[in-house]
C-alpha cells in the first residue's frame, strides 16, 4: 500500500520532471556549452573550444561593469520603492474602513495590467512636451521646467524606468505584507493597546517583528524580480540612452540578438544564472528556517 502510493506520486510528477529537463536543464546546458566555445550568428554545429576566454573578455569589458552597476542601482531602487510602497499600503489596508474593497482593488490594479501597458502609460505620462507628470511636477514647483526629457537624458532614464517598474511591481509586496500582518496574532495588538502603546510603538514592537519571515522572503523575491526584469526596461528604453538603463539581463539580450555574439551572451547568461542561483540557495535556507519556526 505504502509502496504503491509512492509509485503513484512519482508517476504523477514524472511529466513535470521531463518537461523541466527539456525546457530548463537542457537550455542551461546549451548556455554553459556556448559560453566556452566561439559561437557566432551561423550556429556552427562544431564550434571551436575557447576555454574561459569569453569570460575573460567580459571581465575586461567596461560595458560589463557598467551593466553590473546599473543592475545594482536598479535592484536597490526597486527594492526600496516596491517594499516601501507595499508596506505603506499594507498598513493602510489592515484597518477597517468604508470602501476598503474598492481601495484594495485600486491599489492592487497596477500589477494586474500587462507590463507593456504600464510602459505605454508611463511613456505618455513622462512625455517631454505634453506629459502630465511633467506638468504636475512643474505646477507643484518640484521642477523648474515643464519639459523634462525623462527618457532621453542618461541621468534620468533609469529613474523613469524605476518609477514604472515600482508602480507595476509594488502590489505584490502589498499582498505579501498583508498576509504577513494577518499572521501576527491579534492578542499581541490587543495587549499592546492595553499597555497604552501608540501607533508608532505598535508598529515598531508588534507589526515589524511579526513581519520578519515574510519580509525576508519578499526582499529576496524582489531582488530576483529586479535581476529578471526585462520587459519594462526593454519596451521603455531598450537599454538606452547611451546604455544608461542597460542591466545585465538587457545586455545579455542585446549581445545575442543585436550583436549576434551568442558566445559572449551565453557567458553573460551564465554569470546572471550564477548570481540567481546564489540568491536562490540563500532563499532556500531562509525558507527552511522559517518552516522550522512555524
Amino acid at each position: 500500500m505504502r509502496r504503491e502510493r509512492r509509485v503513484f506520486a512519482i508517476v504523477l510528477m514524472a511529466p513535470t520532471v521531463v518537461w523541466t529537463l527539456v525546457v530548463l536543464v537542457y537550455p542551461i546546458a546549451i548556455t554553459l556549452r556556448n559560453s566556452v566555445h566561439r559561437v557566432g550568428a551561423g550556429f556552427d554545429p562544431h564550434p571551436p573550444f575557447v576555454g574561459l576566454s569569453n569570460y575573460a573578455a567580459l571581465v575586461q569589458d567596461p560595458t560589463f561593469w557598467h551593466s553590473v552597476r546599473v543592475t545594482g542601482v536598479f535592484a536597490l531602487g526597486n527594492l526600496i520603492g516596491s517594499f516601501g510602497l507595499g508596506l505603506l499600503t499594507a498598513l493602510l489596508l489592515q484597518h477597517r474602513f468604508r470602501g476598503r474593497p474598492v481601495a484594495r482593488a485600486i491599489l492592487l490594479l497596477p500589477w494586474a495590467m500587462p507590463q507593456v501597458a504600464a510602459v505605454v502609460i508611463w511613456r505618455w505620462l513622462l512625455q517631454t512636451q505634453y506629459g502630465a507628470a511633467n506638468y504636475i511636477l512643474w505646477r507643484l514647483h518640484l521642477s523648474p521646467t515643464p519639459n523634462i526629457d525623462w527618457l532621453g537624458r542618461p541621468s534620468l532614464a533609469l529613474y523613469a524606468v524605476l518609477i514604472a517598474t515600482v508602480w507595476w511591481q509594488y502590489p505584490i509586496a502589498t499582498t505579501f505584507l498583508q498576509a504577513g500582518i494577518q499572521s501576527v496574532p491579534l492578542e499581541l495588538f490587543e495587549a499592546a493597546g492595553i499597555d497604552g502603546a501608540n501607533t508608532w510603538q505598535r508598529f515598531r514592537h508588534v507589526t515589524w517583528p511579526g513581519l520578519q519571515p515574510v519580509r525576508n522572503i519578499l526582499l529576496l523575491m524582489l531582488l530576483f524580480w529586479s535581476l529578471g526584469q526585462v520587459i519594462i526596461i526593454w519596451a521603455m528604453t531598450a537599454g538606452g540612452p547611451a546604455r544608461a538603463t542597460q542591466t545585465l539581463a538587457i545586455l545579455t539580450y542585446t549581445r545575442a540578438f543585436s550583436d549576434f555574439q551568442f558566445d559572449s551572451a551565453s557567458a553573460l547568461a551564465t554569470i546572471v544564472l550564477a548570481i540567481s542561483l546564489g540568491i536562490g540557495l540563500f532563499y532556500y535556507r531562509l525558507v527552511l528556517r522559517t518552516e522550522h519556526l512555524a
Binding site: R5, R6, A9, I10, L12, M13, P15, T16, T20, V23, L24, P27, F43, T89, L92, F97, G99, R104, A105, L107, L109, P110, A112, M113, P114, Q115, V116, A118, V120, I121, W122, R123, L125, Q127, Q129, Y130, Y135, P146, W167, T175, F176, Q178, A179, I217, L227, G228, I231, A235, A249, I250, T252, Y253, A256, F257, S266, V272, L273, S276, G280, A294
Partner: protein, 276 residues
C-alpha cells in the same frame, strides 16, 4: 479621546485617498486619453476630457490587425493556462502526498527555474525551437511562457493540497475510487481556490508574455497583443489617443480577471512563496 479617534480616522481616510489617487491616476489617464477625439497635444493637459467619445476604440481595429492579435493572445493565454495546470496539478498532488527531502529539493529547483531571467533562456530556446520548427508559431510561445508559470502554479497548488486532509483521499480509496479518481473527484474540488489562483496566474502570464513573442514571432498576423502594442508605440508618428485605446483593450482582460479572482490569487501567491 473622542477627538483623537476622529483625527485618526481622518488621517486614515486621507492616507487611503492619497494613495489611491497617486496609484490610480496613471490608469485614469490612460482611459481619459483614450476617450479624447482629437490630438492630445495640449498644454496644460486636459485632465478631464471635454467631449469624451469612444471613436478611438473602433478606429484602432482598422489601424492595426488588433482583432488578430487579441485572438492570438487568447490562444497563448489559454494554452499557457491549460499547459501549466495539466502539469502542475498532478505534480503538486504528488509532491504534497509524498513528502521526502528529494521531492522538496526538486520543488526548489523548479522554483529556481522560475527565477531565471527570461533573456538567459532566449538563446537556448531559439536553438531548441529552430530544430523543432517552432519559430514563428504560437505553440512555441505557449511552451516558452509555460516554462515560467509551471513552477509557481506548482507551489500554489501544493500549498492548497497540503490543506486537504489525507484522510479524505484515503476515504475515497476505500469507497472504490482509483487513486487518480480520488484526486479528480475528491481532492481537486476541495482545492478549487488553488486551481482558480493557479489558472488565473497561468492565463495572465500567457496574456502578458512579451519577450519570447517579440523575438520569435515575425509574421505580423501572428503577433500577440503585447508585441503589437509595443511595435505600434515605436512607430515614428505615435498617435497617443489610439495607442492609449489599444493599451486599454489589452489591459482590460487581465485586469477584470484579476479583480474577479483577487482573493484566491492573493492567497495563492503568498501560499506559494511564504509557506512550503
Amino acid at each position: 479621546m473622542r477627538a483623537w479617534r476622529t483625527a485618526q480616522q481622518a488621517a486614515l481616510y486621507g492616507g487611503v485617498a492619497l494613495a489611491c489617487v497617486v496609484v490610480g491616476f496613471p490608469v485614469y489617464w490612460m482611459a481619459a486619453s483614450a476617450l479624447e477625439p482629437g490630438s492630445l497635444f495640449n498644454f496644460p493637459p486636459a485632465f478631464f476630457p471635454a467631449h469624451p467619445v469612444p471613436s478611438n476604440f473602433t478606429r484602432i481595429f482598422t489601424i492595426n490587425p488588433l482583432a488578430h492579435w487579441l485572438l492570438n493572445s487568447l490562444f497563448v493565454a489559454t494554452g499557457t493556462m491549460l499547459c501549466s495546470l495539466a502539469l502542475s496539478v498532478h505534480a503538486a498532488y504528488g509532491m504534497s502526498r509524498l513528502r521526502s527531502r528529494p521531492v522538496v529539493m526538486l520543488g526548489f529547483l523548479l522554483l529556481l527555474g522560475q527565477m531565471i531571467p527570461v533573456t538567459v533562456l532566449t538563446i537556448p530556446f531559439y536553438i531548441l525551437f529552430r530544430s523543432l520548427h517552432l519559430i514563428d508559431t504560437l505553440t512555441g510561445i505557449v511552451i516558452a511562457s509555460a516554462t515560467f508559470t509551471v513552477p509557481l502554479c506548482l507551489w500554489m497548488l501544493k500549498g492548497f493540497f497540503d490543506g486537504v486532509p489525507r484522510e479524505l483521499d484515503e476515504a475515497a480509496l476505500t469507497d472504490g475510487c482509483t487513486r487518480l479518481g480520488s484526486l479528480y473527484r475528491v481532492v481537486l474540488p476541495a482545492a478549487v481556490p488553488g486551481v482558480v489562483a493557479a489558472g488565473t496566474f497561468g492565463f495572465m502570464s500567457g496574456w502578458n508574455e512579451f519577450f519570447f513573442a517579440s523575438t520569435f514571432l515575425s509574421t505580423e498576423t501572428k503577433w500577440v497583443g503585447t508585441v503589437g502594442l509595443v511595435t505600434y508605440m515605436g512607430q515614428y508618428f505615435v498617435e497617443w489617443s489610439a495607442l492609449m485605446a489599444t493599451a486599454c483593450v489589452i489591459s482590460v482582460v487581465p485586469a477584470v480577471l484579476f479583480l474577479l479572482t483577487q482573493r484566491y490569487m492573493m492567497a495563492g501567491i503568498t501560499q506559494g512563496a511564504v509557506k512550503t
